[in-house]
Symmetry: D2
């Protein structure tokens, strides 16, 4: 078996997540999210956020949440704005359009949106012969491993509010973003800085599952209907909630993220030392390093990872992802293999 | 904690399902269903069916599968026929209509469809000013606990084929149906007797999850796209597959069903002996018994169950569901409580 | 050419409608409804209603308006209630469901809804596992030629308001309804007695076209976007508006309806005198008479009409529709043919 | 009233179209397109095309046809490719996305697609995590007044066929394209060079209406259902058909186009002579001329037209459209006004 740097969703689940499920194996719980574990998990998350006035739902995966949120917030003629690299634009098989909405895209350098990038789109769409942009979608971390600072997010939110546009944060890798030393953003800030976001569990040690945090009051009453209507309601809601209990009762969610960030930074620094260039400076649990194609070939014998894109004729950008299962020894094996195969 | 007769999805999961997940905890697997466990589970199910020429997908829940199948098979102007009591008609918050399709309903005595009930609907819809019925949806077991015999299903399938209509079997409780002494239908028969069906895991001891068995060739190429497009693709597909491995590698799926049926039959027979009437004769792991409202009140102190419907001024139909967790002692406690509180 | 009693949309248009278009043939007008004729027609209709606070849009046909209104007012999990005979339920090829909404139906004797028929549906749908009924759809005249009185409509509206449900009146044959001697309802009453309705032009002498009158403020800002988004916006909006100018500038709309009602009442009375039975008492420009199948066969040689349904082994219900083109002589020819062929 | 160069849909209809409707005013016709005029118009168009094996439908407008065709041909996860300037991308308020489909766009210089522009999109979309491009949409004339030659269209069609992709031609201004001296394409060629196209009536002298020509056999049986399901079926189908009778019985459709092209070429040549630059060389009834903003201001007092886009600080691109109503005197007035106001 190759050592995994391919993604952060290749292992069953964190040990403590599984133990939590085992510990509840003899219980009898109410169905459809009306159980005590859903309440407990929600209280744990609210306590962590120090924010009460929101609803929390437990769903199966990121595309599901994106589809649910965007199609619940928008009317048929309203559109969502995202970076050209946004997950909803590229890698969801038209899930948002299948739900009826145009995805308006902006070219970016680093996958991050700014008010400067959004404003022209809002200004151009000024008649009923065009879609009406009504939501901004960002990912934190971005698809390219970037993170938003508190100030950056604040500016986005204020601008969105001033233009009557919703702000939605896709948090598939929110843990890594919140624990990045490159950002001062905390979970406590988020309810004030967007209308809705989700806390990714799938890529943070859960078997599956994301926690949708709905802040905007206007959509609270509809959400239970929408979840069922989209076929996204788990009969055994408690099984998802139990996993978020495990992630939030003793800080496991953040411990996993810190572990990932620490190791990815280590890997980044060592590769930097060895003279490698990167697509961008280190930010989170994904790093994008430029390597010679021959070296990549050698590494690929022992390690799994994704070749992100061609860099030039002889080299490519390689994506390395650190997961909760990655060990320092894995990184050292990788670095050793690099050293042994450099010209 | 009350003793549960409310449903078959109130417990985390069967012990052996959880053990299976634990046993794979150190593995690294490919994402999105491209893993070895998905292959293994699929091979186990195909072997059990003695049928190779089908595709199997692992999904989150029953409404998800219903929405996926029906909206993938039908064009926008095509409709699905089901019993008025059909789950897709009553309890899915318009999931099928939200996907664009009319649900045409038939009144039935017992929740089961027959060619006699379907034919008039097909005949009436004879112009492009009306929807075109193109699929028949049945549940086995039905929402009222009924089961289809092999002959009944064969007749339905032949009729559907003769009229160019697809037949889809919702198998949320397929295990109980296949292990009912009231039906000779087996899993081996199913691929020949419908276009598509699913094997319910959620109500058969899994944490969550249903196995969609796609037999009709015309929709095989589309299905991976549709699953992603509907937000229903698990990143960690192996976690669902592992559960179906546990259910099918040593016959656990059938053992659970037999256990449920045996106990529900026991409960039925004993209540019958005590003079109670039922909505219908015993068929599967759900029984519907008519009880005096005062007795119901007493029972409700110790047992959880659903009052299905009013029977007359003083009595109601009570639904009792046996799950993999139910023990003979639970049934005996219930019977004892009945005895103690009968007039 | 047979004499037409088949429908009220078999002739090109009323002479004065065509003349109106001709009179404007040399003009140059703004596109997409931003023209002076749209303003004029709207002012004429508002003046006739003595009601200013509404928006009026000119659309192509009844199913278009039904689809537009219902899918604009409802969220994906919300449903519309109508009579089992309702046009949206039977004869629109699933247009409403294709727009995402369940149509909940009520059996009625005469195609008319009452609060007694609606209330149980609202009461039953009490959880997020079921659709949420949010609109009541009625037709006036109904699909069976019936009409609502002012009191009947007032009671419906008050009930709908008390339950937070919208009331929508399909006015494909609104002219005939408003001019029926069996109803005291006027166009002035309508804005107060529903949230939205349309004034049918197609069946009242126009080439095509319906005037949607939107009273409920909540949907006014969205409507231009929705119309374009559904592909329903005419580039030459003035051509539809010109026709409504013709219909409303000198009362032509009402004159046509009165003409139709008068002749249909004449036909009804004469047939009544001859001893025929009817499905219902006369109300509007459609009458439903029970005739012997042999007589029907004879009549069908000279006259076009629809056999609505079988009555018994030897007789059927025949629908006779009076249009703006029907003359008294046509009715007399029909009556004479009846007389000559009665046993 | 200003002289109109704003668009080709500002006049009621061509005199002969109106006369045709008048000539049929005393007829009684079958509803919903089952009338003799629909047959006649279809035969006229088929005869003109010298092509029998296609179905023709008469619809209300361009966005309606685009929505109908694209959502009928594509499955929910399939996408349509068009130029960034494509009408479906920019000016239909998300009609295609509301129907469930992603619009994939390509930057072009002139609004025209080539195989070189399309191929990379087809190649990139190679997994079920992305939409599947399945249709190419072009406009002829393009939104920028361009036209396709027979060879250009042939190459596109062959490429599309080789890649299993449908080709759809939006013919809102097809008349002008087919009569352009810059293209050798004829109506006879079209059925062989695409799967489906429409012949625009709205911008060619009709009151409203487009003729959809469906060549691809796979979608013929569905089309009547889809038209009704989308609310696009006219009750008085004969009124649309009558207009196409007028346009095609004596070549009026082509006469109008030739008239428009001749005058637009005249205007182009004269402006060229006066030293003006253009966005592109003359092709059809739309010309895009670069003018000083002061001159534009002056012209705008007497003439209506659209300022297409900013050119530089002191000048803009002006769109001038010639319609069937435009006279040589109108062009001369315009030219005179230009002359009088040039520096």
């Amino acid at each position: 078996m190759k050592i995994n740097f391919e993604n952060d969703y290749s292992s069953v689940a964190h040990k403590r997540v599984l133990e939590k499920l085992l510990s509840a194996a003899d219980e009898s719980n109410f169905g459809y999210g009306n159980d005590s574990h859903s309440k407990t998990a929600t209280n744990l998350i609210k306590k962590q956020m120090k924010y009460e006035d929101c609803d929390i739902y437990y769903l199966s995966g990121g595309t599901a949440v994106n589809k649910l949120v965007i199609t619940s917030f928008l009317k048929p003629f309203e559109a969502v704005i995202c970076a050209e690299t946004g997950h909803i634009n590229v890698h969801e098989t038209g899930a948002i359009e299948a739900g009826g909405h145009k995805v308006l895209t902006v070219k970016t350098n680093d996958g991050k949106l700014t008010t400067n990038l959004i404003e022209p789109i809002l200004d151009e769409h000024n008649s009923s012969h065009m879609v009406k942009p009504k939501m901004v979608y960002i990912s934190n971390t971005t698809e390219l491993g970037g993170v938003y600072t508190k100030l950056e997010l604040k500016r986005l939110k204020e601008f969105c509010t001033s233009r009557g546009v919703y702000l939605y944060v896709d948090g598939a890798r929110l843990g890594s973003a919140l624990c990045s030393t490159e950002s001062d953003l905390t979970l406590e800030d988020l309810p004030y800085l967007c209308d809705v976001f989700y806390i990714g569990g799938t890529k943070s040690g859960a078997l599956y599952g994301e926690a949708l945090v709905l802040v905007n009051d206007d959509f609270k009453a509809d959400m239970p209907y929408r979840i069922k209507n989209l076929g996204m309601l788990f009969a055994k809601g408690f099984n998802t909630a139990l996993q978020f209990e495990a992630l939030f009762e003793d800080g496991l969610f953040f411990d996993i993220a810190k572990h990932e960030n620490k190791l990815s930074r280590y890997l980044y620094d060592e590769l930097d030392e060895l003279g490698f260039d990167f697509k961008d400076f280190w930010k989170s649990n994904q790093i994008f390093v430029i390597m010679d194609n021959n070296l990549i070939k050698k590494l690929y014998e022992k390690f799994s990872f994704i070749i992100w894109e061609k860099f030039d004729e002889s080299s490519s950008v390689v994506r390395l992802v650190i997961s909760f299962k990655t060990k320092k020894e894995d990184c050292d094996s990788f670095l050793k293999c690099v050293l042994n195969n450099m010209d």
